[in-house]
Symmetry: C2
Amino acid sequence: MSTTLKDIAKKTGFSVSTISRVLHDNSKKYKISEETQTKVQQTAKDLGYRLNTLARGLRMQKTYEIGLIVPDIANPFFSAVCKNLAGELRKGGYNFIVYDTDKDLSIERSAIKKVLEKRVDGLIIASVGQEFSHIQKIRDANIPLVMIDRCSDSVDVDSVSVDNVKGSMFAMNYLIKEGHTRIAFIQGTPGSYANETRLQGYKLALHDTGIAVDKHLIVGNDFRAMNGYLETKHLLKLANPPTAIFTAGNIIALGALDACKKAGVRVPQDISLVTFDDPVFTPYLSPPLTAVEQPIKKLSEMAVAILYRRMKNHHGMRKTLLLEPKLNIRSSVARISTRKNIIHSTKIEKN
Amino acid sequence: MSTTLKDIAKKTGFSVSTISRVLHDNSKKYKISEETQTKVQQTAKDLGYRLNTLARGLRMQKTYEIGLIVPDIANPFFSAVCKNLAGELRKGGYNFIVYDTDKDLSIERSAIKKVLEKRVDGLIIASVGQEFSHIQKIRDANIPLVMIDRCSDSVDVDSVSVDNVKGSMFAMNYLIKEGHTRIAFIQGTPGSYANETRLQGYKLALHDTGIAVDKHLIVGNDFRAMNGYLETKHLLKLANPPTAIFTAGNIIALGALDACKKAGVRVPQDISLVTFDDPVFTPYLSPPLTAVEQPIKKLSEMAVAILYRRMKNHHGMRKTLLLEPKLNIRSSVARISTRKNIIHSTKIEKN
DNA sequence: TTGTATGCGTTATCAA
DNA sequence: TTGATAACGCATACAA
């Protein structure tokens, strides 16, 4: 097996405590002679000594590990969050363990179990679904925890997330300002936090400007490209089609764009398109898409900051942060006049 | 603190071993009475007992954890690998710890150190750079290890990777078959494994078909969009510009496409474009890009399979797998005749 | 069917 | 300046 402090002790003739002190302590504290220090360090190197964090963690009741639980690490949003968190935590001397729950609540439950069994010092979680009682339980067990990309008043847990409602409203208000009134919303997975909040923003913006919500213009059922494609095709065939489409996620937008292209409908001349979420490729599409960007770096920094705070003080007040997204205006939206609107819809009807 | 076996023992009156057996053993082995079982399980639940994997790992010399070290988890390729590995390992009852080295060798070194200190049962690593002696050392320490997306004859380590050379050749041969002879290569980061192997395939394909390598057509220096943009702009201005561009990575291709669009050069009518790597968005670009797809799922499955094999047998023969990529032909390449070639280059010169 | 005792590798307390 | 010893929580060989 691997070398232990004991092995080094035997070899050098010193005691285990001495070895431990020169190897892992801020050894100066104990006034250990230069001589023994170098001797110990040398034989440690010779024997290929390697700290055993299991033993240390057990003894110290601290692992310097943070657990991260996300629904889908292949989603660019979460992989970016993951990367930023990693960098941020590294600064503080923490490592982290990632769990991908594959958007499955039962996997999420077992991930939580596993991560707690590992005695992580803290937990960052983007839960699936809208029901957070199992997360409340963790909090109640006094394990430092912060929810990200999700927040709920029904639960007493620290959280930092992006204001999806506001993001949607930014997009919608822009569309409305450009003269659009018939705006479709292609949803992601109904019931998911991201979808429901974005939908809410969509409705709110319409409501605020006195535009009636047309149920026929709210379509779709998941975050994939095919959904965007099919629903766009459907929307274009409507008797009174929308002049703009707002999609709940960028992959949906890809499908929507494709459907337009295949139907010979030009973006933005014939129809405008805006999407939530703004990964690397949106500026390079044809046309470059106007999109709602989420402040990922900020989100990660804040999550870590709040987690540290909670680790220091288990009983402080709950803290919830709502970060503001940003609308990146590019070339997928055209200003519209009533007249143009009519011409446009006539043209579409032939399709 | 949290409840331990001891606590349950005290409360129920049984010994710690009994508690341990009913809670973590395949308890039937020991013929423990139904009565005590239910009693123990009940109080375990009441007290909110949670296994401590540190203690168990220390005792059993096994952690059921696999370390994963990648250069950049925000890169769609690696985040997909990560996701697939997670699923694959979960099947076998293993968890995993991810480290993002941010393409930094010193971070990689410390990540390796950390992960070994955690006494992972195995390690999967996509190292940065081309020099693998530090990885050889891990192997020499008899820690089950498999390199992914990288392989080297200079090192005695299991590995599974994609045949980048072949991938490049697929792309190049297709271009050549379509009549192209002046084909530019926009590199990623020189010295990186991905870049060097892809470059090698580029050169080899030219060599095999008797086309001389023109050094002026090999340009670029990193995997980012700006690099693709700048170098494409430069290539288009050449006195004798290429009729096709092959980019070492998809983000480079985004920049290249953008440069063409801004210069009024049509893809594929005026210039053809092929790229290595094929994430979700390539089919949705204008035009949909012909691209080399890497077999990520297969790569992950094989990596885990080889790792398991190595965990069972420390001293088996070295195994290196080279997976075949696949060329997805879409609409970014045009057949070319000599005449068209000349017209094309004249047109470009005005730019 | 259940209990006792030991050790995994480390740190911390107390003593020398 | 260094050492002996206990404890962290668990699993297991051996006893009963």
